[in-house]
Symmetry: D2
Subunit: 368 residues, 4 copies
């Protein structure tokens, strides 16, 4: 479905970097879900570039909700969020129109859209569009919190600097959700920022790893085979620009483990089943087992750098050397983190509604 | 859609480990595609357990095609493949019915299916069902080969032993597709098998990494955002039991790279654009760029081991120690490899048909 | 999705008239739903040709369920029903291969499948495939009955003879479901049969109207806009070969009504809302209102007749006169009726599961 | 998918009668398709109420396209159309909030949305939302015209007055597309309007029948079984508020026909196959046969009338007598006609893109 994701709760994304608005439509969310505008704004703030470690493009992200909400409660019909694009400098990009920026989508887009694509600021491929995804996901994330389901993401690694492991999950998640730069060990923040700045000063960029935890998901959600929860989450996460890998639980470390190390021993506490370790990241056979859902994505270094690069002009079919100008992020991993939160929330709402029906998410008291 | 995957070419999977048949329906494949039964048998043979490094359950996998094919040419309507289950020993599993095997789907399935699930041999969750996926994928893979699109997967790593890198891709792929144990460096085969056997003798199991290459995909296939080719492929790959991670191109190594190292410089050779490196694994912005599509998955160690394990009885809600019996694989990575080939072929047929229309795959000359 | 219908409960159809099996996969039906094999057989019997008013092709329709069911209870995973084709006489059709039978799909199929289609007995287009739809729908229909939702269809009109209106709905439905020839006024049966036979003796065929009632659907099920319950039901009903129209409630009679006649006055009885008339057929704004769902379809006369017909040979591109031979139905309206029941049951299970979650349909007591 | 329709070309609808904007997202339309703003405006004008035979709510329908279009050419990514709501008088409706208007969606919406629905002016159920569908469909319809596919709809019957039959189809279609009140026989216009006014003066409303013709569809488009072209078109048409029935070709008249009358004799003219009659409405076995696609829908009388009506208050659960006030249409059949054109165009783009690939619709010359 291209720009629509989900069955029971579906999100449709639209917009371009330099268009009038970007936006998202959320369809299938229960009626009566509270819309917390401050919460949405807060998540948009977390995504917004800030300081020298991000692009100097500054956006206010003043979203408006033009359908599906009355008196800050969802009606049950499609919710549309619009975010105006401001601070647009198309001039910066105009000369690049037919010169492919390496590792960007310029050339693959040309092959698909035959020159009709919007190339201003990356057009529909721009990370800018994730602001709409964040707004949509913020609505879902807030609804899940009211149901006791909490999502948090930290920068596990960036520019060679690693954060500490998750520890007390619920506490960690809540603390992350307050932070602009989401690391668990506060000492790592400055080290990462320094390393990013160092790369930036060298005209270069860095990548990193994001780790997401979801606490409170009921067991028995997901599907065997194609619509495994891993399949659904991964499908969504690869929508986030620059994500090039995803792993659940122990992930790629499984390759070097024995079954006797990898298997999660099971125990009972009161009336609740749990596992001593969580190498499976809360999912067995595509279905939640009641343990926290844990996954990591890798974010490639921002493709735009200020060093000269060998590339091509796909119109003249000549080889060129590109020297980029404009406003760019030397790292996006710290900004992508809130996109990952939002995207996770959308998938969780979808699979929960599939399992428990349309009304599952209803949070608010019936209004008069 | 649970057990159906794909939009333009869709596959539906069904069956249980100890049912009468497992099977798959392929819908949307072009008419006139040649069915090469030997090719399908060959792929089923590659999946089949053999020797001491696999389960001793032996299956002939004598598939039959009961719809959608006449005179070994597709009709364009749904193709149904059935594979009878033979050599079924349900007795081996009966005692486990309410004792969850750690890191298997037993407990999560219980939470979803409330005790109605088929627990004989893993039921619908069994790796056995992948035989049907292989048969369906074999049809797609053969059709793609006729169009010059080649898919191959090797065991990149198993039990701590690593294979060499892909080198001459087309040659490597063709050689892999002939091998029962798919490694590029033939010296690694014995080392891996030894390491697997060692684990097996210890009652343990091992995991590994599979690497897949697709050569010949036209550029401009895939979608930005949700239906990125990475999203589609990952969604599918997590259907393969035991896959817990996937990465494209440089994958998780991107975390430690600079943009200047990570970006793929672009060049022109004749009328063709190529990149000097392929860190993006042939995909930019979710869309093919004409370079080979490269991805790796991690396969967790087979959860069934013969060491005692702490677990629970979810009916009596008591803690138990499980000592497994029966036939099991100390490793499945070498068998999963052909499943990954098949699954990849299905996704590629789907995205190609979406891009170029229903008839794209037509291979055969019009029959009289 | 071509041969797959439904989101929450999905059915995939496959097979050809003269293939080895036809079949259906039902995915998403709750676990623990009782499979009543006699009930399925009964519905297959109602579809089966009998006497001189139907084709002389005789099928036993000995279905088997090869996945998704254990001890006659659904497991919650895909249920696959197979029905073997017997009594196949391909010879009867061989000469027609490139001569299009007027008002059949021969020519349109040729345009889509380029000569690769299975033309034996209509191939994938044959009404024979509806046997698989009936088997799948029978499982759904029985599950719905256990939840107090009843579906029945009568031959409202055939060969110019009209049946009486629905009256006491639940009683009428139950009586229809026992009848081989489903009319409410038993006097009409003989008249219709006579009229059908008269047409048959003349080498001709007749059409008719089917009316379906669904009692017991909860209110609040369906969607505004695209996935209106009318939209979902109509989408499904046009899958039934020969259906060329559908109308809900007053249907086409609305064209000649005033709003003051057409509107359904609302009343309250106890704690239940009802409408005095049911011109809207139980659906307002695409969503059930708690009144019975009522719709009618028109079945065109069977295209195969024994009179000479002007047609074409699409291979030689010459005009021809066709004189059909073989076994055919002078009317199918009385057989299509149970297909309509089955198709309705599938749609209702789908929309109910979407609304109330996967487990909604669970009927049986938890097994030991 | 609730508010999203289509696979290859998908449309998502959002908005409410009294919200800030209504809108639609079109996803999957080829790049390079020309956007003719006058054409869109013209279609919106045809939908707009005018004179005494429609509601006195007056809208300018000044649409804006906020994504997916540059220099009036589609980019190939999601196209979003917004239409601001103006002239909103919510006061007129406020008292009705818990009193169900008979034959409206008020009560069924209450059952689904539990009181959270937007009830101002019908909210998301309002016919107002069809303006967004018209804008989206206008883009598709214009693109189809450039490919030689023409769609037109006339008021076949309204308030007891009938229009003439289609005759010279292409000519008729072109003439209809210029008319505000779409009848083929110009004499009928005044008679229909008079009859509508007469009903209006009596505080009543009328229904009617719309007939749509599509000329130029290639043969071989559509699917057997579930995604028959009839199934797809009907699914879409029931999205149009007040549509309660649809029939293709001879439609319900088939019930009284013999096969020998109903079958369409086939002929050859040059290298083209045609049928002498078109009782099948251009579709056999769910697939186009190259003849014009013809179908009719019935539009029920506008439910809002000014006569007192028996109804209920669903909050207090008391019976009430409703005397409606406000602005309403005594007939909507003449306005719904352009919605039907638009909806048809969307479905045709979807099935054509499925058949021939993403680029099929490309119309424009490659831009510089």
């Amino acid at each position: 479905m291209k720009n629509t994701f989900g069955n029971s709760v579906a999100v449709t994304l639209f917009g371009e970097s330099h268009g009038e608005y970007i936006g998202a439509v959320i369809d299938g969310l229960a009626p009566g879900v509270e819309i917390n505008r401050e919460y949405i704004s807060h998540m948009l703030t977390l995504r917004r570039p800030e300081g020298k470690i991000s692009t100097q493009r500054s956006e206010k992200d003043e979203f408006k909700i033009i359908s599906g909400v009355i008196n800050d409660l969802t009606t049950g019909t499609p919710i549309t969020v619009l975010i105006p694009n401001e601070n647009v400098k198309s001039g910066d990009y105009s000369q690049m129109k037919t010169i492919a920026r390496p590792s960007h989508a310029d050339y693959s887009a040309e092959c698909k859209y035959h020159g009709y694509q919007d190339s201003r600021g990356g057009g529909h491929f721009s990370g800018r569009i994730t602001a709409a995804l964040v707004a949509a996901g913020a609505i879902c994330k807030y609804a899940l919190e009211k149901k006791g389901i909490h999502i948090g993401t930290h920068v596990k690694k960036c520019a060679g600097v690693s954060d500490r492991e998750f520890c007390d999950l619920l506490w960690d998640i809540k603390s992350l959700n307050e932070k602009k730069f989401a690391v668990l060990n506060e000492n790592t923040e400055d080290k990462m920022k320094e390393a990013i700045l160092e790369a930036a000063e060298d005209g270069d960029s860095v990548g990193g790893i994001l780790e997401t935890a979801v606490v409170g998901m009921p067991s028995g959600v997901g599907e065997p085979w194609f619509d495994s929860l891993e399949g659904m989450l991964s499908h969504m996460m690869f929508s986030i620009p620059a994500v090039k890998g995803i792993e659940f639980g122990a992930g790629f470390a499984f390759a070097d483990m024995k079954g006797s190390e990898a298997n999660d021993p099971m125990r009972i506490a009161g009336d609740k089943v749990y596992t001593v370790t969580n190498n499976n990241g809360g999912i067995n056979g595509g279905i939640t087992n009641g343990m926290p859902v844990i996954f990591r994505t890798v974010i490639k270094p921002t493709p735009t750098i200020f060093k000269p690069q060998d590339t091509i002009n796909f119109k003249t079919m000549t080889e060129e050397v590109l020297e980029a100008k404009g406003r760019h992020d030397p790292a996006i991993v710290h900004r992508a983190r809130v996109v990952q939160d939002a995207a996770t929330a959308i998938v969780m709402c979808d699979v929960l509604a599939a399992r428990f029906g349309t009304d599952f998410i209803i949070v608010s008291e019936k209004k008069d």
